[in-house]
């Protein structure tokens, strides 16, 4: 068989081409949507072929690393522009193009009648291309290119309605876009520093060694295990810890972890397919991918791994509680995404890379399903996002209803849906590595998750429609089809790493070298107990809001539970005050410094002294000096003679 490895170029090339076409040639909604969707679907097919090529590589070649050209060569810094395609990339690529393709098709229906559909599809394609560069880059710099690219597309798409002053629930789209961008810059600073540290430690940025003499660093983590950086009076820190910790900062930004998660709830200002694609399924998981890709470094640094676990668990808990208190259908899902990302980060921090990747994949599927379902609900209720105005939509939109129920069940971790297997995998891993506290906290978070999903489906689909100003209807087929496909994926998603089969585990072994933990009776019991608890919790959530509080929920009124929980509820409602904190610690001082610089330093200092002051000085001087210009020749002659006398006197006396 001829060498087909070049085919990996096509994976990012199709969406890039779609972006260029939609940017420069296409002017109408219909062709734009078709081209964008077609590009991603073609990319998906190419990815499938690439996996076949990868599996049939000759013995001794572990991965496809197709170097297009040498990108940057400065001294010892040699950065190839190469596309890496190994098993880890393969699963990420399938997720990005597969779920991405469905979301594109869905968007054709959802964005119908939008003011700027062509721009929307162009940016969506650009996002897919950037995301593919992120997962396919064979070095940190190319990964970073994609990392920034997805950040840019996230910014552009959150701000899709930049001309609207406010979208539900009271977010200014342009502000939300800027907020996401700025929060990500904080993380990106960590990424940049991590890259510099990697280069200074290993002398290369490439992940794996290549034929052209470029060395890789992934397999050489132990080389720097004992090197430390001296920080003057602060003591020293292990180099490997510094590198991984800086990466972890990047992860907290991109994957919306504590303390940088605040941008994600506001990112819901974008169109719903954007939320599904970028802020649930793909971009926000790139932090998890980063850790898995650099897993040898994290393995060599227990300190950072501990931090990752702590951050992940904290995020999972805080975001889950915040999710319970939201009224906006998309904000519930946003906080739930943050919470699930916390699971993944905690999993990879504990060394459960396969568990983390497993949850990443299943979450990508069922959270995309939930977001698309939410989009379908918003579409069908004529832009209603407040769950207090919904209710009883079960009969009006049956397809949305049952697919949403599948997604909700998967998120809650109900057997046998996808989320059950992956979430259980993470919890079991916590007990495997002897950190029962983490396991218990994650179980608590999963019970809260089940509760708020019960609450949400009860509010949306049960009871009577509480606001009769609109007529709810089911969405069109372009939107229903992706829902159904993702619904099937949600049911079958657990198969990819079913205990006993361990397909994903075995598939990823060449990259991660992680043995699948044997499935014990204890784990089976644990899983059964957790899923029963989750079912119970979901039922309680459903019962409270579908039956008990049924009559007490009205648009504009507080949640009945607020009466019992008081300030705890209020705290959760504002995302535990991180926004409030940043407002006071960062935004307000920044504004004050800016105000000082603009009003005092610039207007009085630069403008007053330099720009206006100097001319004023010369104007005064000239006013004084011009009085000497009398115009009388006699006066000039006087000066002339005095000068002569002075000169003569000087030479005479000297």
């Amino acid at each position: 068989m001829s060498d087909l490895t070049w085919i990996v170029i096509l994976i990012p090339a199709f969406p890039l081409l779609g972006f260029l076409l939609n940017t420069f040639l296409i002017r109408h909604e219909r062709p734009a949507g078709l081209i964008a969707s077609g590009a991603v679907v073609l990319s998906f097919i190419t990815a499938l072929i690439s996996i076949y090529v990868l599996q049939t590589l000759p013995e001794g070649t572990e991965r496809i690393d197709y170097v297009l050209w040498e990108w940057i060569t400065i001294g010892t810094l040699r950065v190839p522009f190469g596309l890496l395609f190994d098993q880890l990339t393969a699963v990420m690529t399938l997720l990005v193009t597969g779920v991405g393709g469905l979301i594109h098709i869905y968007s054709i229906g959802y964005m119908h009648g939008d003011e700027r559909p062509v721009r929307f599809f162009a940016y969506m394609n650009l996002f897919i291309a950037a995301m593919l560069f992120l997962v396919m880059g064979d070095n940190m710099l190319l990964l970073f290119l994609g990392w920034e690219g997805v950040g840019l597309c996230s910014f552009l798409l959150i701000g899709h309605y930049f001309d609207r002053r406010s979208v539900q629930p009271g977010i200014v789209p342009s502000d939300a876009a800027v907020k996401a961008f700025v929060a990500n810059r904080v993380g990106d600073a960590g990424m940049l520093l991590a890259m510099m540290a990697i280069f200074s430690a290993f002398g290369t940025l490439a992940f794996y060694g290549q034929n052209n003499g470029i060395t890789g660093y992934i397999e050489r983590a132990e080389e720097v295990a004992f090197r430390t950086i001296v920080l003057g009076p602060f003591g020293g820190v292990q180099l490997i810890t510094a590198i991984t910790f800086l990466m972890l900062i990047g992860v907290t930004g991109k994957s919306a972890q504590v303390p940088l998660f605040v941008w994600l709830p506001d990112a819901m200002a974008g169109p719903t397919p954007v939320s599904a694609l970028i802020h649930a399924a793909t971009m926000v998981t790139s932090g998890v991918y980063l850790i898995v890709r650099n897993h040898t470094l994290f393995e060599a640094s227990p300190a950072t791994s501990g931090w990752a676990v702590a951050i992940g668990v904290l995020t999972a808990l805080l975001a889950a509680t915040a999710s319970v208190t939201q009224w906006d259908v998309k904000r519930v899902l946003a906080y739930s995404t943050i919470s699930q990302l916390g699971y993944m980060v905690a999993a990879v921090g504990m060394g459960g890379y396969v568990a983390g990747m497993f949850h990443l994949l299943t979450h990508g599927i069922f959270k995309a399903l939930l977001f698309l379902g939410a989009g379908s609900i918003i579409h069908g209720t004529h832009d209603t996002q407040d769950m207090r105005k919904m209710g009883g939509l079960r009969s009006a939109m049956p397809t949305t209803w049952w697919t949403y129920m599948l997604g909700a069940g998967a998120l809650a971790g109900i057997f046998p849906l996808a989320g059950f297997w992956s979430k259980d995998d993470i919890i079991a891993h916590a007990f495997d590595v002897q950190i029962p506290l983490v396991g218990i906290l994650l179980i608590v978070a999963s019970l809260i998750t089940a509760f708020y999903m019960g609450r949400q489906v009860a509010l949306i689909f049960w009871g009577k429609q509480r606001d009769n100003t609109y007529h709810a209807h089911e969405s069109g087929s372009a939107m229903r089809l992706p829902l159904v496909i993702l619904g099937v994926g949600t049911v079958l998603g657990g198969l990819i790493n079913l205990p006993g089969l361990y397909w994903l585990s075995n598939f990823l072994t060449p990259v991660l070298h992680e043995e699948a933990a044997p499935y014990t009776i204890g784990k089976g019991i644990l899983a059964t107990v957790v899923t029963l608890l989750a079912l119970g919790s979901m039922y309680i959530g459903w019962y409270l809001y579908a039956v008990t509080f049924q009559s007490r929920i009205k648009a504009g009124k507080d949640d009945p539970l607020l009466y019992y929980l008081g300030d705890i509820w209020r705290g959760a409602e504002i995302g535990w005050g991180f926004d409030w904190l940043y407002q006071r610690v960062v935004v307000r001082p920044y504004r004050q410094i800016s105000a000082f610089l603009s009003n005092v330093f610039d207007q009085q200092g630069i403008d007053g002294i330099l720009v206006d002051g100097l001319p004023r000085l010369f104007s005064r001087l000239s006013t004084t000096l011009r009085t000497g210009q009398s115009g009388y020749i006699r006066n000039y002659a006087w000066v002339f003679f005095l000068g002569v006398i002075v000169l003569v006197g000087y030479f005479a006396i000297r």
Binding site: G628, Q629, S630, G631, Y632, I633, R634, A637, W638
Partner: protein, 100 residues
């Protein structure tokens, strides 16, 4: 023979008178005359020194000065006539259009 210092003293007196004339008189013609007097006082000093050192250099320079003074008077008087045409006066205090 008259000592050189007498000539030089006379020259200084003539020069001072010329200066006073230039600085105090308002009539442009008188100012001109004062300027001529200053030039000639310088000439007097030059020939005195030439006599003292028995050198022809000073005397030759005097001829130059006289020639240049003649040319200068021609130009100056032409200017004066033009000024008189336009301003109808030769009073230099009236001519102050360069006042700042």
């Amino acid at each position: 023979m008259v000592p050189t210092s007498y000539y030089v003293l006379l020259s200084a007196v003539l020069f001072s008178l010329g200066v006073i004339g230039v600085l105090t008189r308002r009539n442009a013609l008188i100012v001109f005359m004062s300027v001529e007097m200053m030039l000639n006082s310088a000439n007097l000093a030059l020939v005195a020194f030439a006599q003292r050192w028995q050198s022809a250099n000073g005397q030759i320079l005097v001829f130059f000065v006289i020639t240049v003074a003649a040319a200068e008077v021609a130009v100056g008087l032409a200017l004066l006539v033009t000024i008189f045409y336009s301003k109808n006066t030769t009073d230099i205090d009236e001519i102050n259009s360069l006042k700042g």
